[in-house]
Symmetry: C2
Subunit: 198 residues, 2 copies
């Protein structure tokens, strides 16, 4: 495992997606792995941490999620913007070598239960277990999951907080609008906070 990857406490896992990054969803079933991009992912609860993600019925990754009940949400970086666009616009249905063609390299986190297809080079990773909600899945393409493991690149996430401002700009999270338009996350905005930071 990359020496910059460290576990994130589960009660801080929501912070990896709280600022609204575009994410990559990856899943594997019976030896088939796939990765897709999604802007529609969101934290849902703190403890145990849960999240929502919208997976269209045409997405091959959705089939893998439904079959295996497990997936990874990861936070790609500025350096991975083209990869993110490409995995979001190409389908494994049309290109059996999609992941190689998009430059995706997969790895597994050490430890039991983490034998999932994690994408190399991301800023953070959330291992998820699907909570079956057939009505939401069928009616809204909306999937709910519990986060059962979390990790981050210590160069950008440290002590429960993003530190984009202290890292290379290529490691910032990316935020998709439409039509190939991405923004990187930007500068810190200071506020007078009443609660102590932790």
């Amino acid at each position: 495992m990359d020496s910059h990857i460290a576990p994130v406490a589960l009660d801080k896992a929501y912070r990896l997606i709280n600022h609204g990054p575009t994410i990559l969803v990856s899943a594997r079933h019976r030896g088939v792995s796939n990765v897709m991009a999604a802007a529609w992912a969101c934290a849902l609860d703190f403890k145990p941490p849960k999240l929502t993600v919208v997976l269209d019925k045409i997405a091959r990754t959705r089939e893998l999620v439904e079959s295996s009940g497990r997936f990874v949400i990861q936070i790609p970086t500025v350096a991975q913007a083209q990869l993110t666009y490409d995995v979001g616009s190409r389908s494994l249905h049309d290109d059996a070598d999609k992941l190689a063609h998009c430059g995706v390299e997969l790895f597994e986190m050490p430890g039991p239960g983490h034998d999932l297809p994690f994408v190399q080079g991301c800023a953070g990773w959330l291992a998820c277990r699907l909570i079956s909600e057939p009505h939401n899945q069928q009616t809204y393409d909306l999937f709910i999951a519990e986060v059962v493991g979390a990790w981050a690149d210590t160069r950008v996430f440290h002590d429960g907080h993003w530190e984009f401002e202290n890292a290379d700009a290529s490691r910032r999270s990316i935020h998709y609008v439409a039509g190939g338009q991405f923004y990187a996350i930007g500068d810190v905005v200071p506020v007078r906070a009443e609660e102590p930071a932790d």
Copy 2:
């Protein structure tokens, strides 16, 4: 109405929140208005546009949403970061003058059906109609709504796209992490896009 506010076509409304900004939720019932901050809001569908938002059971705004079936999601700016933090950390239960104390000014959009409490000075606004899903609301604090009206500040959103890079930095969207830590949205990240921008 502010001369910089223009309607956004409903099929482009999702783009106002696609990049994951922290948002303000406002609602009114029987003369009581309230505004809260939420980082957990997300697009859910394109046409008709739908979104999800997580509203905790202790939030007074949730009661107003449940009672009236209507609310506004709006995208605050860097200039409103303190306001956003303050409406998110103070409760109408404790301070009947919360909105005034937080510096919130409300207005109404012209036109029938838009008699909702819109927050002045934001970058975009989505008028929403609750889709009743009692199981999601009770089990997950998860609310689903259809977007029935959308508007944006033409200085930052034009022709269906954000143009933060061409506007004053104080008008950028803000993205909350935790403990008073906000980031502004940053720079454009170029990609080679296969689909034509529209």
